[in-house]
Symmetry: C2
Subunit: 365 residues, 2 copies
């Protein structure tokens, strides 16, 4: 379905912001006139590449859930708005993975594909992140791999995806790009761009034997980037991982890889009694393994203590710039050792601001 006309007020608000924060761009008046004319004729408008870059950076700056915003000015923006076909989107996503990985020195980056326009719907990426692992039903009722993507895996198999002969716990799902012309199309992700890090523990030798691993670059691909009323549904972006995302959520949540009980058993903890804090102890060791392994493999990663401090630096800077900094406590406070981080000990503003990222629930397959 075609997208409705861009709301003029949103365009004007964005252009005023852009010109206010970009002194060399001069006063916004002429550009606003031009954009209003474009909206009148086409129902939408085309951002200059400087506007696009600024818009994407400010969308990051405005995201209330992201603790990593200190470096928002450094976001690299790949202007791929001319790319609207499935194969083109997929190719550029693979290139994004490679450029962002950068040999381990991860670069925050976003690839902005064709926008939604009144005459043509934008391409969409089904996957929540470019790299996600399959989840397979096992005969014993449990799931091999990532249970969160069991349904997506099912769907893809019905669309013709062939899992490896020997299904494993870390099989990378194909990328699915949907366009109006072609419908959903699947593209296997080339192994060379995945960059899995095998996990080992600095002290516990048996840990490596668990066979746990995780990919290096988290490229979120189900958020819609909205700038000045223009919507970019395909705009995958990445930072580097904060260790807890892998160690305290992906590998530890009961409805994900649920490694805590196994690690606790291997550690010889008494798992018959919650009050021995076996969950807490195993959780810490999984997270140590994640941080240690990424470092050993020279892949950028950050820990939640460092990142909390950085975020408070960011907050102070934003305040000094006279800008409110929206933040959602329940997303900002790390999922482990919450009260040991300074971000725990305060409240935040949490109003929604634009430009921004919108989680695109209907984009999930």
């Amino acid at each position: 379905p075609a997208h409705p006309d861009v709301v003029r007020a949103e365009a004007i608000e964005f252009l005023e912001l852009f010109h206010a924060e970009t002194p060399h761009a001069g006063p916004p008046g002429p550009r606003i006139d031009e954009v209003l004319w474009q909206i009148g004729v086409t129902g939408s408008y085309w951002h200059t590449s400087e506007e696009l870059t600024f818009g994407a950076r400010v969308a990051w700056r405005n995201n209330a859930r992201c603790i990593g915003r200190l470096y928002w000015r450094s976001l690299q923006v790949r202007d791929l708005r001319k790319v609207a076909d499935a194969a083109g989107v997929a190719e550029h996503c693979f290139a994004h993975l490679e450029e962002a990985h950068n040999g381990g020195r991860i670069r925050p980056m976003i690839s902005v594909f064709a926008p939604e326009t009144p005459s043509r719907p934008a391409p969409r990426i089904w996957n929540e992140q470019l790299i996600r692992y399959a989840g397979y039903d096992r005969p014993d009722g449990r799931v091999l791999g990532d249970p969160r993507y069991r349904d997506l895996t099912d769907t893809l198999v019905r669309h013709g995806w062939r899992p490896p002969e020997q299904p494993g716990a870390f099989d990378v799902l194909p990328l699915v790009v949907e366009t109006v012309e072609e419908g959903p199309r699947m593209f296997p992700i080339p192994e060379r761009v995945v960059h899995d890090v095998p996990l080992e523990h600095p002290e516990l030798g048996w840990f490596a034997g668990l066979g746990a691993r995780w990919h290096a670059v988290p490229v979120i691909s189900n958020n819609r980037l909205v700038i000045g009323g223009v919507s970019y549904p395909a705009a995958p972006f990445n930072g580097w991982y904060m260790g807890t995302e892998i160690g305290a959520r992906n590998l530890a949540d009961r409805d994900r890889y649920d490694l805590v009980p196994e690690v606790a058993e291997r550690m010889g903890l008494d798992t018959s009694d919650d009050a021995t804090l076996w969950r807490d102890r195993a959780l810490v060791e999984i997270n140590r393994a994640v941080l240690h392994s990424f470092r050993t493999n020279e892949v950028t990663i950050t820990d939640h203590h460092t990142e909390s401090r950085r975020f408070l630096t960011h907050l102070r800077r934003e305040e000094q710039s006279g800008r409110p900094c929206p933040a959602d406590w329940s997303w900002i406070v790390p999922p482990m050792s919450g009260s040991q981080t300074e971000v725990f000990h305060r409240y935040y503003d949490d109003e929604v601001r634009t430009p921004g990222f919108v989680t695109d629930d209907d984009a999930a397959g």
Copy 2:
């Protein structure tokens, strides 16, 4: 200052709730008439003791911050509304500590002292909890004891409190009760009602040598109980401790006892690098020591995993009873290993309901 006339609407709303949930009390009409008459004549009204008990229990049930609400029906209510003088309040607080401690099998309990009335302001308790430890400035600029009560300690010393000859890290502050007639008066808390638990670790022998301890019963005394428009500023209540309150907050917060760095050093951890997760590891051990020591001393305590499960049971029961259960995510999710507890993985309603507890900022000394 006298309390303004209680809002009739609040009285009616409460009485309707009480009669709706107390079938044997019959229809609310006659009681409402009586109460409205009392309000007309005196500006306030006197709860029956059954209304008081119900009101206090529902105030607990309504508290969005409390994870321990499963047992809300079991709250023991001490009706001390006739007690309005400072010495009387203090005596009954000490008795409360003893009855609630109950030889280690802690009983959830509330003592309700004289209400605020148009003719007479209620007594107030300055202390945040009945038992709080003093904080003393040290020559090196650090604080001996609990830094959170440094200012209160100062104030009490200026009011004539004499700390022990040898000030320690766990000196119990006197109770301060303020009435209009007498002003603030101090009452030393008798040692026999304190019941400190010395902390030792199940494996780390040196832990006991840190000299850390904590009192058995958390009696919160700075919350105002509000039932049907009547306000009880002095209504100290207690449950039992959840270990993290002591181990992840009181003893671990940087602006409290800040034990984490010391414990980490003793454990031989590399504290030069956040990514070794030395804070997380030390935090777990402090919390193990808390749970272990309370158990060894046969004092009721709960861990955050158990309590999270209980809370979700409570939530389901409330839903089955057709009642919304307000909950504040940032208070309900434990301050450590958040995502390992089920309460982390959902959102909650958080509207404020009455009867309720109101944190009385102006009651803090």
